[in-house]
């Protein structure tokens, strides 16, 4: 392109905000709408179709049987509630651990020490997800694991593979995702507000609960998006430390091969939950804190 026409394009873009915004958004939006939304649409359309009983190929006739199946079978209600409860527990546990840690790193230690501590806290993100769960498996092994060894002087064994292990393992896995936004949020708090609170006579605890927490609330919600969504869809941790019970992700995974429409219908559940959750928290400004 000659410099003349380049200059013309620049001038046009400069004067025309509409065009500028469109030009910037063109590529990312095309990608997200066509590739991402498009494939989601293609998937969820199959939920109103069905499969051939024998060959498992999709047959495109309209039917609501998948939804009827999900709604009428108590087992699926159970697994949905179980998954929601696990996701909620994991989120709460992660928050309980991450908030004091982030506060300590962001406001109590000297600025020199901060990069060291935060680097240490998020290093586990670089350790393989699978290996971390497997480490939990060996730790929670009822016969020969670390926890059993630790508790043996008290005569108790580790709870083995099941609900407790899954919640612990998932909390462990998603903790960095909670720490990062909360730490960033706390670091951004202007010193002036905290000093003002102290000046007005509030003890540290009170300042923490009345000033710090409300101000970092959006960041906490932002972290919860990760922990909630990751727990809602996880099917691997359950297979490794979960014993015999299942989560929604397992139902989707199991049926994906043989009954894509049914699997898509089940997959709608976590999607609806997350979309609802996102719309609810939009007001809180959490999306700017991710």
């Amino acid at each position: 392109m000659s410099t003349n026409s380049l200059a013309k394009v620049q001038q046009y873009l400069h004067k025309n905000i509409k065009a500028r915004i469109t030009a910037l958004l063109l590529l990312p939006m095309t990608w997200l709408v066509v590739i991402y939304l498009g494939s989601l649409a293609a998937l969820f359309i199959t939920s109103i179709w069905t499969v051939d009983d024998f060959t498992n190929k999709v047959i495109r006739t309209f039917t609501l049987e998948n939804f009827i199946e999900i709604l009428s079978d108590r087992a699926y209600l159970n697994v949905t509630i179980r998954t929601l409860l696990i996701a909620a527990s994991v989120t709460i546990l992660c928050a309980l651990i991450a908030i004091p840690m982030s506060f300590f790193m962001a406001r109590v230690v000297s600025p020199k020490l901060r990069p060291v501590l935060i680097a240490l806290a998020i290093t586990p993100l670089w350790a393989s997800y699978l290996v971390k769960i497997y480490a939990w498996r060996t730790m929670m092994s009822p016969e020969s694991g670390f926890l059993t060894w630790l508790l043996s002087p008290f005569g108790i064994k580790s709870p083995g593979y099941g609900l407790v292990s899954v919640v612990l393992a998932l909390t462990y896995l998603w903790l960095p995702y909670m720490i990062i936004p909360i730490y960033a949020g706390m670091e951004r708090l202007p010193n002036s507000i905290l000093d003002a609170s102290s000046d007005l006579g509030a003890k540290p605890f009170k300042t923490f609960f009345k000033v710090v927490l409300p101000l970092t609330y959006p960041a906490i919600i932002a972290g919860s998006i990760f922990t909630f969504s990751l727990s809602m869809g996880d099917y691997i941790a359950v297979q490794i430390v979960g014993g015999t019970f299942q989560m929604l992700g397992n139902v989707v995974y199991q049926n994906f091969a043989l009954d894509l429409p049914f699997s898509a219908a089940v997959a709608l559940i976590p999607v609806i939950v997350m979309v609802l959750y996102l719309t609810l928290i939009r007001k809180s400004g959490a999306l700017e804190n991710l």
Binding site: V33, A42, D52, F54, R60, Y76, G243, Q246, L258
Partner: protein
């Protein structure tokens, strides 16, 4: 050039901008959906039917090099990665000039899905997967004239209904075996001879039992019911009418509290037994063999009630680039020497009659009843249940496999 747009001007231009953007995005979503929905796809079929005679490769099998992706049961296509001394893939690669990539799967359902998603050229399919693949149009008939070693296959393994349709053969048999009851020596005394160890609520190893994580396991429940509830009248564990099916599901529900973990990944099973969290359950001989590798830790038996089993066939995908390599592999894997190696490593009866003389353990074929018929009379090979009862009954409808899968999914989720 001066930057002049003020906030007023920006806001003013917004109205047309926002509507346009929203409209374009909606249009994009709508059109892409319509496009996708409207496109004819290879993923659907109106009338699924097996292939026609003309689709058979005429040969001759040349020496064109190529790569084949093989889908196999663990232990069927060992390439040295499990145990460096156990390898019949690398010698094949050297002799044929073909490159081989092996992917193992844990259940027949996984096999069907992987095969249907494309990219695999050769598969070792059990009877509960083979017909689904044939009718799904995923395979091509196999020209047995191009596979010289086929002549030596045991007669009672040739032209079986799970791999031969309308007179067309779709593959060559690999071997057959039973799903065994495995138990950790020392934890179960005396050595068990009945499946009651894993089904009865008063089992001494409750909580440390394992079961196969696939809908086909419902047949194992049916096998047990054949002995404990003969009044149900089950003759074929894959031909269950609704009453019989419900009884099998009841038994499974009774078993669930006794189960520590369900297994589909054989290596996870091995790890669980080694760490002691699993002590008994349904298993494959290869798992017991690996566990007993250094020192004898487990025993494996076919209990008196009989067992489910499998008879596997090597099959070729419909769209294969290196079809010569595929045929070479089929010929290689049923060759007496290789069939003997594979059967011995896995722990199953070989398909090639000449393999029996070549196994390292001279009693191998006797051990696995390769040349008998009595042993197999209460081994019920995996096959796909259909609505038309597989035991020949015409007065009732049987539960088709898709319902098995639904019931299993619901059962596992509860």
């Amino acid at each position: 050039m001066r930057f002049v747009a003020t906030t007023q001007q920006i806001k003013g231009r917004n109205k047309t901008l926002n509507k346009k953007r929203l409209l374009t995005s909606l249009l994009a979503i709508a059109s892409s959906t319509v496009l996708i929905a409207g496109c004819s796809s290879s993923g659907t079929s109106e009338e699924a039917a097996p292939a026609e005679e003309s689709a058979v490769y005429q040969g001759p099998v040349g020496d064109t090099p190529g790569t084949i992706n093989i889908l196999a049961w663990p232990g069927y296509a060992e390439d040295g990665s499990t145990d460096p001394a156990v390898d019949w893939v690398t010698p094949f690669e050297k002799e044929s000039g073909c490159e081989v990539n092996v992917k193992t799967y844990g259940t027949s359902d996984e096999a069907v899905q992987l095969m249907q998603s494309g990219g695999y050229d050769v598969i070792s399919a059990s009877g509960d997967a083979s017909l689904r693949l044939i009718y799904g149009g995923d395979l091509q008939p196999v020209n047995l004239d191009l596979i010289p070693n086929y002549a030596d296959i045991f007669d009672n393994l040739k032209d079986r209904p799970w791999n031969t349709v309308d007179g067309l053969n779709y593959g060559v048999p690999h071997g057959r075996g039973a799903n065994v009851l495995q138990y950790t020596i020392g934890k179960v005394d005396p050595a068990p001879d009945s499946w009651s160890l894993v089904w009865e609520a008063n089992s001494p190893v409750a909580g440390k039992i394992t079961a196969y994580d696939s809908a086909i396991y419902i047949a194992d429940a049916a096998v047990y019911l054949m002995s404990t509830k003969p009044e149900l009248g089950i003759t074929d564990p894959y031909a269950l009418d609704q009453t019989q099916f419900d009884a099998a599901m009841e038994l499974l529900k009774q078993q669930k509290p006794l189960v520590g973990e369900y297994w589909a990944d054989y290596t996870k099973y091995i790890e669980a037994v080694q760490s002691g969290s699993i002590v008994a359950g349904t298993s494959w001989q290869v798992i017991a063999n690996v566990l007993n590798g250094e020192k004898e830790t487990v025993g494996a038996v076919k209990p008196k009630e009989g067992a489910t089993g499998w008879s596997d066939t090597w099959m070729i995908s419909k769209n294969v680039e290196a079809v010569d390599c595929a045929y070479k592999w089929l010929n290689w894997i049923i060759k007496p020497e290789v069939n003997a190696q594979a059967a011995e490593w896995f722990g199953e009866a070989p398909a090639n009659s000449k393999a029996c003389a070549l196994t390292a353990n001279k009693d191998h074929c006797k051990l696995y009843h390769a040349e008998e018929t009595d042993y197999w009379s209460n081994v019920y090979y995996w096959k796909t249940p259909t609505e038309t009862c597989l035991d020949g009954r015409t007065d009732v409808k049987c539960v088709p496999y898709s319902e098995w899968v639904k019931a299993w999914s619901s059962f596992r989720s509860a």
